[in-house]
Symmetry: C2
Subunit: 273 residues, 2 copies
Amino acid sequence: MAPRLAIVAGSGPMPRRLADSARAAGRDVFILNLDGVTDPATADGLPSATVGIGQLGRAIEILHRENIAEICMIGPVKRPSLSAIGLDKRAIALLPRLIRQGRGDDALLRVVVGELEGEGFRVVGAHEVEASLLAPAGRLGRHAPDAEAEQDVALGVRVARALGALDVGQAVVVQQGQVIGVEAVEGTDRLLERCGALRLAGRGGVLVKLKKPQQERRADLPTVGTDTVARAAAAGLVGIAIETGQTLLVDREATIAACDAEGLFLLGIDPGP
Amino acid sequence: MAPRLAIVAGSGPMPRRLADSARAAGRDVFILNLDGVTDPATADGLPSATVGIGQLGRAIEILHRENIAEICMIGPVKRPSLSAIGLDKRAIALLPRLIRQGRGDDALLRVVVGELEGEGFRVVGAHEVEASLLAPAGRLGRHAPDAEAEQDVALGVRVARALGALDVGQAVVVQQGQVIGVEAVEGTDRLLERCGALRLAGRGGVLVKLKKPQQERRADLPTVGTDTVARAAAAGLVGIAIETGQTLLVDREATIAACDAEGLFLLGIDPGP
């Protein structure tokens, strides 16, 4: 039997979907809720516990007590200010290392993954639990980009990679050769809202969302789902480009169907090394 | 006597200030208003004409007719969609070159400057008309950054330069080692509004605004004034870093006084080559 899996649950529907899919494959699943972050329905009917976002020591204690062998972190976690988190001793002990490594999300995740591995847990990516979550290559729906959209995607890839390399954000919106908006801490939803208001008159507009080049692949992979499609359509965009094998599609069939219905293309691309 | 100067007037107070300052130095000034862009009061009492933003041929005709020798472009111009501009023949003839060179603001300005120079006009930067407009080096007001603010400025410089190199934007807001927001087409004012809502609890937060590394220095230099200071203060920031010799200070004394009054530092920095 596969080792017991703990899902450290960020916000949104992904943690529960992953739990259901792991259980359908016969796995024993435990949910670790993050106080104020995890959707309350996530752990319904499943064994679970809740820790504060700064309680690393307590989280590790619980994971040992529950005989967890593998840990998967999934779902967005909006980072609060350091001063707003109740950091436990274990978390405080990490601060010097964090400050050395930089304080972007990716730096933080690397440090946390390192701590968990040091405790003997195996930290796995969501795609290792459920391979079908990852975006495949090529045109995923009915619609295809035109030449201008292809150019906008290419520019979006260059900008997203430059930003990602600096641990700033994953997403960018490009229209008619101009970068309309760039994601930092606000997240993709708010970026899309803003770009709906900022977009130029006339045609076009694409969302490009990529993994940061150096990103810890076992946590915080870019995620796209039906909600993203609805927001991109509301912003007047004509398509979405995501990274093949590096982007989580929350519900592949529903997401592709939403793109088809809204007239958006959905493209799995390989931005290169 | 100095050659006749045309000020191609973007929005905001800078074009008029520059006109007044050039006239005080004894120069003969002509204002070229951009329809829907230039503040209507800009040309009050001065010789002027108005052209649409896509009427390059007509603009050149007027500038020749008015015996203009030097041209200075100053003040932000929000670019409308190509399809929303009434392009005249001369502007349409530039489109293939624009498409080859990319369509960010800097690429566009280079092409326009090239056209004007081909017509025999000398295109000058605002700082060549009035040297005191440029930001000096070092601490410009009463307040100084603390160690954390200095680190935030350093990170902001790296991000702003990476973005600028891709012709995306000039400004970035950093707080507590995290990039809170990045400017694209929305401009610095809206970036600051957004970052007021997005900022982390607790201290800190800086605005870094730099010239794009490859930027045509004779147009679209980053601009900071009392309005920027008010918006940065409203967003809860503790300071502003600008590029020595490459940033226009709308009104140096008033801008520094506003920083002093709001408790913000104002720093002229050299981000290196």
